[in-house]
């Protein structure tokens, strides 16, 4: 079976029950907290929280394996490049220098750099689970509604939901076109050179675009005929009313957000936590 990009499945968990609005707001609050703070104590706390939520949402490892592998590769590459370009950044930030080993030329490993990059890794490790949870547990229908509720204009938010609606169609269409073109002799395997593979890809994409344009015409007519774009606002059939559990979730997210900010401003007096002085 083909893998689906957004494999939303309704499960009976407290996380799935939250309204889309709660999820997007909590996601934004927690992400902002993690992005803002470089205090490894706070971030580790949030990371543990993220893993607990992950468990609660009953997300299966197999569902997210591929995504996680990509993310790990990206994060590690990012870490290596950060070090290559700015090996002394930690020293600049924390103002002390505890050299551990000398590697080559100006590249030395300092405790400060290790601490700085370690903090960054933990940041990624806490934000990414929230992103995955948000994608996997939000009903696509609610997606646009929640975007709209946090201030995105509905004419921008609705296409998001339309994309989710028509994505599988386009995927299927792509598959069919690709097979029919292969029957005509199109080589899609690695045997062909890069240049001819690019040319061959065009032979699938051009028919795909033309048959998709036909559809877009139908869709936009259908939407016009039913009054889309008439008013400045619109309401949402699938938007859930906030329940008690939503307020609890929002409260918890807000609390974590405030603690993080409080620690930064009143305890660390900076976005960074400095254990070296």
């Amino acid at each position: 079976m083909r893998t689906k990009l957004f494999s939303y499945n309704y499960l009976d968990t407290p996380i799935h029950k939250l309204s889309g609005l709660t999820k997007i707001l909590s996601f934004l609050l927690l992400t902002f907290a993690v992005m803002f703070s470089y205090d490894i104590r706070c971030i580790t706390g949030i990371m543990i929280f993220a893993f607990i939520i992950f468990k609660m949402a009953k997300i299966q490892w197999s569902q997210v394996k591929l995504m996680v592998v990509y993310v790990i590769v990206f994060v590690l590459t990012n870490a290596i490049i950060t070090y290559l370009f700015a090996p002394e950044h930690g020293v600049e930030l924390y103002g002390t220098r505890h050299e551990l080993i000398k590697i080559f030329g100006r590249y030395t490993m300092t405790l400060e750099q290790l601490f700085y990059q370690g903090t960054k890794l933990v940041k990624y490790a806490s934000v990414i689970p929230f992103g995955i949870i948000f994608l996997m547990t939000t009903n696509p229908s609610e997606f646009a509604a929640s975007l709209n509720k946090v201030g995105v204009h509905y004419k921008l938010a609705y296409p998001v939901s339309l994309t989710l609606r028509y994505f599988p169609d386009i995927q299927r269409n792509y598959q069919d076109i690709s097979l029919a073109q292969q029957a005509r002799g199109l080589e899609m395997s690695n045997k062909a050179s890069l240049k001819s593979r690019f040319k061959n890809a065009l032979m699938i994409i051009i028919p795909l675009i033309f048959s998709t344009i036909d559809r877009i015409d139908v869709i936009s007519n259908a939407m016009d005929l039913r009054g889309f774009g008439k008013g400045k606002k619109r309401t949402w059939y699938s938007g859930k009313k906030l329940a008690k559990i939503d307020y609890i979730a929002l409260g918890l997210s807000l609390l974590i957000f405030m603690i993080t900010i409080y620690v930064s401003i009143f305890i660390n007096h900076s976005r960074f936590y400095n254990p070296f002085i």
């Binding site: 005929l225 619109r234 949402w236």
Partner: protein
Amino acid sequence: MKNKVVVKFKDFSFQYYSQAEPTLTDINIDIKSGEKILIVGPSGSGKSTLGHCLNGLIPFSYRGIMKGELEVGSLVTKDHSIYDLSKVIGTVLQDSDGQFVGLTVGEDIAFAMENDETVSSIMHTRVKSVSEMVGMDQFLGSSPFELSGGQKQRTALAGVMIDDVDIILFDEPLANLDPATGKRAIEIIDEIHQTTGKTVIIIEHRLEDVLHCHMDRILLINDGKVVADMNPDEMVSSDLLIRYGIREPLYATALKYSGVKIESTIKPGHMSTLSLPLVKESILSWDAKVEYEIIDTKHEEILSVKHLNFSYDGTREILKDINFTIHKGEMIAVVGTNGAGKSTIAKVLCGFEKETTGTINYLGESIANLSIKERAEIIGYVMQNPNQMISKNLIYDEVALGLRLRNISEEAIKDKVEHALKICGLLPFMDWPISALSYGQRKRVTIAAILVLDPKILILDEPTAGQDYKHYSEIMNFLEEINEMGITIIMITHDMHLMLEYTKRAIVLSKGEIIADASTAEVMTDDLIIEAANLKETSLYTLAKAVNIKNPTSFVQHFIEYERREVRGR
């Protein structure tokens, strides 16, 4: 409010900016409240444009010069927006999948209310009650992928009824539905019309299918003008349908063959109103007189499929123990409901999917080890929508593509391409851009692009979907010519006319199994098969039973043979 005029075209004409000639001229139509009107006309007659004028897509989305007056409800359309009009007239479009803009049935039905900024609780109550009217209340949470074509269309209907419009416009509602679902759709429209008293306007070229239920009037459009405005009895009695390329009901054709003079007095407008005592004698004597020897020259086996099973995931069987044999030079139909496995069989034959178990033999040899590319030289596959296949600008390049990918010399390519184009009647257009061609011509281009690879078997997916009678006949006569040149043709279809007129044998699939492999006449007169394959009883069979013909199946067979030999001279 009966008899109040709700749609009024007065000396109306319309010309698209992009066109040199007006698409509609001198239109004068009055439609009264509660009427049920059918608008028929061949492709390009302007009937869709007429629909666009009614619902406001003209001038909202399509611009042009409008002359004369058009009032819908009490609104003069040119002074009002498409949004104002949408409160008076609701439109159900032909593409029941494309117009499904919500992610679930409930959302899609509520779409218009969302745009009206209705509060959630009112929406949910209203969606519930409207969905009950069309029988979709059990599916509010379903996504479009879980629904059949008919269910999607009902959703669309509910989506326009939610506004409580006075007029409902159906733009080719039958185009994408199988025969049984189409019949049911017409019945639902009739039910809604009777219970709500709304004005119903149906634009459709499949006349017989619409006439399954009562219609007050039929407007015939040709070349941008209204050429007839009659009740169904008068329309079927006249020669206008044939003159303007609309297929008359099959039972009417059968009556003509048997020598009955078709007049309003025999009430030929609907099969159900036909005055049987007046026609019975003629039909019975015709049926007794017509006798054909069925010459069944079986050629050698070209393709044989044995014990074929297929499954995507190893658990759910999509094809179960499929066995059939196809003989050289046959032209056969593969029929069945959506999801019965028709397309999957085609995909497995072409090598797009690999069978789980079973054998496929071509001329007695297994083709299991041939790649997709190699199989294409034996079995060519033509997709339904030509736009899904065309990737070049010029006709010549498009047809040459498959050969160029096989590294054949340009000289040899030239000969082959010219030959294929000649067969397809496209040789004069060789250097034309494809964008200048009509849909039917594009279809030919895609067929030429497959024929150029010299396949022995051609599989076509719904070759005539969405085509009017004229284009349908063109495509089918062309396929018949190719067939006579010795190419075996397999068509995946649910067009019953196609089966009746062009194929002698049909393979019927249901839930992944072959439930029938028999002559077309047998398939189309077997109630169990008709039901399992979502076909409907042909009106020929209904007619035969109604006049108590002893063997209705042989009556249908007589009709087919008579038409093939005496009328089309095959």
